[in-house]
Amino acid sequence: MDAVLIMIVAFAGYIIAYRLYGEFVGKKIFQLTNQNKTPAVEFTDGVDYVPTKRGIIFGHHFTSIAGTGPIVGPAIGVIWGWLPALIWVLVGSIVMGAVQDFSVLVMSLRNQGKSISEVAAGYISKRIRVAFFLIVFIELWLFLAILGMIIAVIFHMYPEAVFPVWMEIPIAIILGWAIYKRNAHVNRATVLAVVAMYITVVLGHVIPLDMPTIGGMPATGVWTLILFVYCFIASTLPVTTLLQPRDYINAWELFIAMGLVVIAVIAASFNGLKIVAPAVQAAPEGAPSLWPFLFITIACGAISGFHSVVASGTTAKQVAKEEDAQFIGYGSMLMEGALAVIVIIATAAGIGLAARGETGAVTGLAKWTQHYASWSAAAGLGAKVGAFVEGSANMISYLGIPKYLGLIIMGVFVASFAGTSMDTTTRLQRYVIQELLGANRVGAAEKKSFFTNKYGATILALLTAGILAFSTGANGKGAMALWPLFGANNQTLAALALFTASVYLKQRGGQKYLVTLLPGIFMLVLTFWALIENEMSYIAGTKVLLGIINLAIILIVIFVAFESLKKLFSKEDMQAAQA
């Protein structure tokens, strides 16, 4: 029963935190008031600025911040034991992550709906915009390489998931065609598409597709290459053709799979579901130390810098009342924390549970150890993500769904979710590259560059990611080396967002800025610490490329800290701003 109790206590804790700390930050610190006009009301145009009901905006915003991160991060983070991971997810999301998302949303609301890079440039310094773009570029670069490996590893581990994942493409194309060209009823078409997708899941069991080694390249390497080619095609096609209907089906798939897991936790709790992972495993073999790496390994789910980019986008242009910002900004991050809690339960309890009717299988701590004995146990990342897939499938079996189907459902869920993230990342990276290389600058039209057009920028995005993916091997272990880098970079962005909020609050007077400054300093110190440890290990292991990227992030962290703290403690600036 302890697993279900953890879930209930965590969910209840989130509700209480929302009521207490969320309201404290909203009402006392940021002094939300509906008397302040939001950009949606002030500039309402029925196109970009549209006042929208808070429930709908919450849905939009939550679906935008929930990516692959809250699944992969906690699935790896459990290696240090379930307790530190759970505490970090709970405390981190309540006092740091949700505060960051919320404060960025409020700052954007009070600055005409501007994006975080513009807001940060305004409050800290204009130079910060360059750092901002570099962080985002590095983040997308790393994540693209990691995502390719995640999907490749899932395909390799669960060949039954390959057929359903690829079949999503024709199903999505037919769905898009039916809705856009044949005016099919959206709800009916959705139900048919989702049913068709789950039929392919059943068929996947009959036709597993095992990728052989080709030309000495392991199966995961071949899959990674195929996925990058797919990404190029998918990202350069018009969105209506493939991406948009595929994202739409995936969203329903996420909803169904997560709903199944939540109900399964309750059903399995009556059948012996209990935590089998050790509360703390301070020094797993080959793993970096818990301090500071837990705090960068679990980013999304606790605090994710990229949320600041998302929160200051369309959300800020649609909030009708300023007081809704607490529900939307703070509440949706807590919801993501709840998703991370479910992942922790699946990887700390579900993994050790015998599936319904299963006999003779390894269970309990022994099973958990197979996945988490060391950083690279059973091919590193694959084993950690696999722990979530298998743990969930074990629990789902108590809903009457056989384990073999549960494995495919969850395998398809993770692979297609990561696939959506890969498409998104490629497209975003394309825009960042075009921005960084100056496609939008005056005079750029005369200097036609291959790398600033759609195809060139996409090739550059995928080529750089490919170099990174294969620089550490194509067997799934590489992503474990990249993940701490990704986390550290993401947390740098989080620290930058929190510092911006601190400058904003300090200008408003009093000690309120401590609510954002303390988490900001916490993230900055831990990130810097992790980066230094990373650098030493890369130097020791002569990993040149990773060492260079890590060094670049270190320099950005120093720059961000210097610019932010200089602004924060400059008496003249503060007095001028307050005046």
Partner: protein
């Protein structure tokens, strides 16, 4: 009565979820359309900022019909700064 309310709440939840999913999907199309509108507006009224465009009489003839689009474009240009946040918000966090 209570069952009825519960049923209505469940329906409202699913309807809201469906709406959010549809929005997320269609927002990308809306964004592309707005970008195309921006390009179209620039083609028509590029003369004002030194871009070569159609002859001025033709441009001025179309001006009353394009006034609203011009306002949207100017607002976008002045408020958004760069479109990365907007795009990330539409496409979702990676």
């Amino acid at each position: 009565m209570k069952h009825n309310r519960l049923w209505l709440s469940i329906r409202a939840f699913f309807r809201g979820f469906q709406q959010a999913m549809l929005y997320k999907a269609t927002a990308q199309i809306e964004y592309e359309i707005s970008e195309m509108e921006n390009s179209f507006t620039l083609m028509l009224f590029g003369n004002f900022i030194g871009l070569p465009g159609p002859s001025m009489p033709l441009t001025l003839e179309l001006l009353p019909d394009m006034a609203e689009e011009l306002e949207h474009m100017l607002l976008r240009a002045s408020q958004t700064g760069n479109g990365l946040s907007e795009l990330a918000s539409i496409m979702g966090e990676p």
